[in-house]
Each structure stands twice: as C-alpha cells, then as structure tokens.
Symmetry: C2
Subunit: 444 residues, 2 copies
C-alpha cells in the first residue's frame, strides 16, 4: 500500500537530523538514505554523495534532450530542538493539530522540499514533466553549508541548469503568494572574554579585576548606538539604500508592523530609527546576540566572579556588504573596545553574501505567474530577513540566481519550539512545483 | 583508635553539604549530625537544632560560673562545587597535596571551625579551658543565613556571651597574622529580561524587536561609568570615606597589588580610579556580575533571537550603605534603563550589612596579642572584601561585634575549583583558639 503524502512527511520529520550536534551524525546518514530511496521511488536517479561533512542527496529525472533543466535545492538538516521543555509535543515525534504538522524541520525545510519531490513524482507518473529536474538536497544548511560550495565546484558540469528554485522562505501573510527577491547575508562570530585564571570569590577579589561577564556585556552594548544603529565603524559603508519602489513595495506588503508585533508577542517593536519593522527586517543590516553565558547559571546564588564569559553574535547583511569585511570590522571593534584586564578569543563563523534578483526578469515573471495561478492573487514582492548562505555560491558557480518560492507560514516557528507546517501549504507546494516548472518551460 | 585531626578534617569535607542545592538536603542533615557527635566527643553538650531551613549545630562547654563566655561561630555548608571539570581532584573526595587539603569547604569553613573545636577539646582534656565556650555552627552561610537571625532572636538568652570569635576570613599573606577589622556588606539581585513570547529566528525577526540578551548586556554595561565607578544614582551617598590611618594600613599591608594580580592571573588589574587594588577590594563598594545567560549556549551556532536572558548581580557594600537601600536604587536604575520592548522581572536576593570593629579596643587588642603569639609577628589590620552577612545580626541581637581571626590562605580558592586549606593553618588554628581564649579571659 502506498503511503499518503502526509504520512511521508511525518516519516521525514521523525529523523532528528540536527547537523550542529555531532551525536546526530548517524541520524543524518539515515535521513539522507531515506531521501535517496524516496527520490528513487519517485522515478529519479538518486544517490547519497559523501562530503567532508554531512552527505548531499543528489537526484535527476530521466534526461530528455531539448528540455530546459531546473535545479531544485533544499536541505534535510534541521536546527537543534532546544529548549526541549517549551515544545508542546516532542520535536521529533511529529503530530497533526489544527491542520498543521508540528515538529522540528516540518517547515524548515522538510515539508517544503518534499512538496517539490511529490510534484515531480506526480508529473513523471503522468508523463508530463516539462523540464529536466535535478534535486540537490544538502545536510549542512543550518551550519553554514560548509561543504556545499566545494560540492558545486566539483559537480559543476553535472549540475548545469537553466534555473534554480528554492522553497525555504516565508510568505508575507498566511497563504499569501510571495516572491522573495532579496535575502540578507550573514556573518557569525563567537567572542570569549577571559580574565582571571579561575572563578574568583566576588567578595575577596571583586573591585580589583575586570569581570569577564561585565566586559562581555559592555562589548555587546558597544554594538549599537542610541538610535538602534550598529555602532561598528564602517559597518554601513557598503549598504545600498532602498530604492523608492522598494519602500513602496514594503509599505504595500500584506505583512504589517502589527503582524510582527503579534507574531513575536513583544510588548513593543524596536529597532533602527527611520524604518518600518518590515524594512528593518528585510532591508537593513543588524547585529544580534544569539547566545550569551558566563558564571553561575544554576539555582540560588553563587558569589563568584567568573573566569570567562562568551557571546555568539550574527550580523545580517544587505547588498553590498560582504561577510569577510564585516567580520574584520567587528573583530577590530571588539579588540579596540576590550579593556586591558581581559583577553579576547574571537572565532569567526560561517558567512553568506546578501542576495537579490530582478523580480521583473523572465525567470522572476515565470515564478510570479505560477504563484498567482496556485494562490489566486498577485504575489507580494518582499525582501526577506533570513539568510540562505548558499545562494551566493549558486550564482557564482552555476551562474543562476535562485528563485525563492515561499511556502513557509509566518507562524511556522522556524528555529524555535513548536515549529509547524500547515498541510495547506504542503499541498499547495506540490501544485506550485508543477505550475512553476510549466511556466518556466515556456520562457525563452 | 582515635582519628588524627587531619583524618577528621577529611571526613568533615567529604560531606557534600551544598546549602544552595535542594538535592543536598540529606547531606546537610548528615553533616550536622556528624558535627554534633564530634562536639559531644570533645566534651561539649551538643545538639542539632532544626530551623525553617538547614539545621544549626549548637554546643556548650560545661558551664563554670564566674568565667567569661566566648561564642565561636562557623558554618558547615559550602558553596556549589561547579564547574566540576576544573577540579584536579573531586571536590568531595578530599586529597592532601603539597601540605594542603584540597576539597570544597576545606577552607570555607570546615577546616577553620574544626581547628577551634579541636582547640577547645584539647583545653577541656587538660582541664584548662579559661572561658565558657558556645559553638554556633550554621548551615546557611552560603545562601544568606536566612534563618540565623531568627535563631539568634529565639535563643538570645542561651547565647548570652562576652565576645564572639569567627575564623572565616583571609590572611593578608600566606602565614601572616591578620585581624580583619571590617568586611563589606552584600546585596544580591537577579534580573530576567523577557521580550518575544518564544525564541525567534534571528534572520526572520532580527532588527524589529529588542533582543533580550542585548538588553541584558546594556543594563549590565549601565552599571559602571568610564572610571570604574558604579553609575547607579545615589549609590555612593552613604559611603564613609577611608580615614587617613586606614589608607596608611592599606599601604602597609603585606598584600600588595602585584600579589592580587598573581593570585588571580589577570593580564592587568582593573577597577575604580583613584584607589589601590587592596583599597578597591576592602574599602570600596562594587557591582559584580556573578552569572549571565540567554539564548543558545551549545556546540556550533544557532541563529536564534532569544526570548529571554538573565543576570545575577551582587553589590558589595561599605559603611554606611544598607542592602535594602542599594537594592531599591538598583531596581529603580534597571527599570529606568530598560527599553519598552522588554519586560523585567527583578528578584531581590539576600543582603548583609557592612561590618567594622575598633582594632584598638580591649577585645581587638586581645585578638592581636593571640595572633602575634601564634604567628610570631605583629598582625596586619585589614579591611576584607568578602561579606559575612550574619555579623550585623550578632551585633544587633547579641550585643557584640565579632572578632575575625583569619586562618584562610590567600591561595585557598574559596568559592572556586580546587579550594584548599594548608595543614599548617589548620594546626596554627588549634593553637590560635587556645591563645585567644586565654588572652580574652585576661581582659577586663
């Protein structure tokens, strides 16, 4: 008996394919193997390709000469599920409630890539696949796609294509067709501040030595000025201001500032002066602390002056900022602002370039027609706040800028507890795959 | 066969009597019971007295009319041993290396109070105890002595005495006799900063909402000005400046700034402008972060904008600051400095008044003679940076300011991994008990 699409999605989400945690390496391999088998069953020639890290799953439809080729990219790795206690149901035991699948990876990115696989399977079964398709599904998207650019380089010939499609972005409003024409880049860094050689008694020594937790806090505080702008010297030098039509598109977006306030539950929105929340998220660069720690975190009090403290920071970038330059500027900033009583250890993390396409080009228009057909209204044109670091590599190595066909709901809780994927988006995603491949096949 | 004093110390340190961690409540009771038995064997009338928290051990020498009474205070609870991975040998499996006992509580306070017990036992065995002795050994010193003031109130008659002696302070230099004539007070607070209702994707929302980790950092940074002074309005209003003789005593202390740099291993000393490190520690109030946390702290990166972050802060106080007023000022400061995009939850913790005696009074002089006799040189007069919150209650309820007879080594690592107690200090402590009781018996 054939499994239903929904059963298959549940099966896919059950793999705890957490790329950041080395203990999950066996789950990563099992998940990749499951995908290979699933793609084979869909009628593609599929393989699991080892890399220096987690493997890539690569699959091709039977080649038909004279047809264009579309590469569809996705990822089977997921974010760590912690904090576990905030999940209503276990992250890797997916449940359906209120028409949504709840589980880590349900939206990001398993539900979305599976919809594309099912669309292609359906077309192949009907003998109606209008293009050649290559699926490239990696296992390191959530940890910076470390090995994918090398993979693209070495498989450049095999991956030759006419367009790249990705569903890993969010809809501007629930069920609202959305073409994301820009994404922010990213640059990650971890800073460890060390002072005394051991934790000290905060009474016996407090006052005479720099407290690494206090220094870490002061370094973080130095990242922003009173207007919410990033206060690193040179940080905005390469930023291209928004065009007037872009500010107009942002103002017309179905996503309003009050939606962002509601989705996040904050008492009040915040951010850089002079921009709407939609603009702050999509079109302005940021510096966000992802984690901070130091000293005693347990029950009760402990009068300790900690030996060290750390913070993890990611910068989101917009055109034409580059991750290397931003990390350089940030490193200089932290070293300049650290007092002599501490030592800094700065680890540079993954980086990704900001990304953008012209939504009025032939490919952009094909995507917009497909979106309008499936969802029944003109798609919103948005700048996304998130980052897909691999997009820059696709452009550079394969020569195409990816088309970002949104299937994630604004309330999907990606990267957070209770991540979910509406079944409506899942089914629409299958239809969108078919419509887009057909529309793209018609372009010259 | 009688156990040696050192064997008994190891036995005492083996109890993981961590008052802050509720899982250790049975260990606390077992440790108190061990003390009761030990004091009984020494010839005292000993009992374990329940309180609303961890029990008090109370013991009295056979009463001799016409003799003065000395109350000796100590505590059998210890700080949490974490971080465990930094201990060379397990915290509760004490080991002797290089003439020192390594283990949590070896110095703070088990080794020191046991020396006093052994001194009194020796005097009783010789029929030569020059005063009546009361031992009061509590189990909540490391968590703010929550129930001791109530205990002092209800047992006021029974605890009537002529002097109070405590060995829970540090020597100014290794083996250097030290009378601590002042200690700082303390006021503890925990601040939790909450923003979004859940952890957010830092790309999807970053830039439009206040990041609680960043806000926590900015609140911490607001605690100090560029001169290292605490920047809370009114913080210094009640501080009595050091007298000239005090600055002189600080300058003559065998503890030099370079010793503090060496002990702590910091690249450079830091702190409030205009004061030496010895003064900053003993005579100036501080604000120290004891712990900070928020967001992702695990392996790798996670691009999350955390729902909340927290920090634990303790203020060290000097005469005439009071914990309640300082906590009030700090709470006002944090509430005033928090942006509208977050909510603050402020928990006020334990407090203790700063403390001081006149080192030239009759009791102070008796203590100085005893210290000089045992250690063979004139004792240093120091202001200690630490806090013993109960001292204020002793003064108020029992009518005596405690004499602080230092037995802790500067390298004892109290409150930190690899806490240790030199056996030399242990044996000297037994002698100091006998000398002090004799000298005090002679005062008028």
């Amino acid at each position: 008996m054939k499994n239903s699409p929904v059963d298959e999605l549940l099966e896919f989400v059950r793999f705890p394919s957490v790329s950041a945690q080395s203990s999950h390496a066996p789950d990563m391999r099992a998940c990749a193997e499951w995908l290979r088998a699933r793609l084979t069953r869909a009628g593609l020639d599929a393989q699991v390709v080892p890399t220096g890290g987690h493997p890539v799953v690569l699959a091709k439809s039977p080649h038909v000469a004279g047809k264009k080729t579309v590469l569809i990219y996705g990822h089977y790795d997921v974010q760590p599920p912690e904090p576990l206690e905030l999940w209503e149901t276990p992250p890797f035991d997916p449940q359906i409630r209120d028409g949504k699948v709840f589980g880590r990876g349900s939206t990001d990115n398993k539900g979305q890539i599976l919809a594309h696989i099912l669309g292609v399977e359906e077309a192949l079964a009907e003998g109606d696949l209008p293009v050649n398709v290559i699926f490239l599904i990696e296992g390191e998207e959530e940890v910076g796609s470390t090995h994918l650019s090398g993979f693209l380089e070495t498989h450049r010939e095999e991956l030759a294509c006419d367009a790249i499609a990705i569903s890993d972005t969010g809809m501007a409003a629930d069920g609202y067709p959305t073409l994301s024409y820009a994404l922010r880049g990213i640059a990650a860094m971890e800073v460890r501040v060390s002072g005394p050689k051991m934790d000290l008694h905060s009474g016996v020594y407090g006052g005479a030595v720099a407290n690494p937790a206090t220094v870490a806090a002061r370094l973080i505080a130095s990242l922003h000025d009173a207007e919410g702008r990033v206060a690193i010297e040179g940080f905005y030098d390469d930023v291209i201001p928004m065009a007037e039509w872009e500010r107009q598109a942002a103002a017309e977006s179905p996503l309003k500032d009050e939606d962002i306030a509601r989705q996040t539950g904050v008492p009040e929105l915040a951010g850089e002066s002079g921009f709407s929340a939609v603009e702050r998220i999509g079109a302005r660069p940021t510096a966000e602390i992802n984690g901070i720690g130091g000293g005693y975190q347990g029950e009760g009090s402990k009068t300790v002056l900690p030996a060290s403290a750390f913070f993890k920071v990611t910068f989101r970038l917009v055109a034409n900022q580059t991750p290397d330059k931003i990390l350089d500027l940030a490193e200089t900033h932290f070293l300049r602002n650290a007092p002599p009583g501490v030592r800094l250890k700065i680890e540079l993390g993954h980086g990704g370039f900001p990304f953008g396409i012209d939504p009025n080009g032939a490919e952009g228009l094909a995507a917009r027609r497909a979106l309008e057909e499936v969802f029944g209204r003109k798609p919103a044109l948005v700048r996304e706040g998130g980052s897909i670091p691999i997009l820059g590599h696709f452009s550079r190595i394969l020569g195409h800028k990816a088309l970002l066909l949104a299937l994630a709901s604004p309330d999907c809780h990606a990267h957070a507890p209770n991540e979910n994927f509406p079944l409506a988006n899942f089914h629409a995603g299958i239809r969108l795959n078919r419509a887009f491949l057909r529309e793209f096949a018609r372009t010259r």
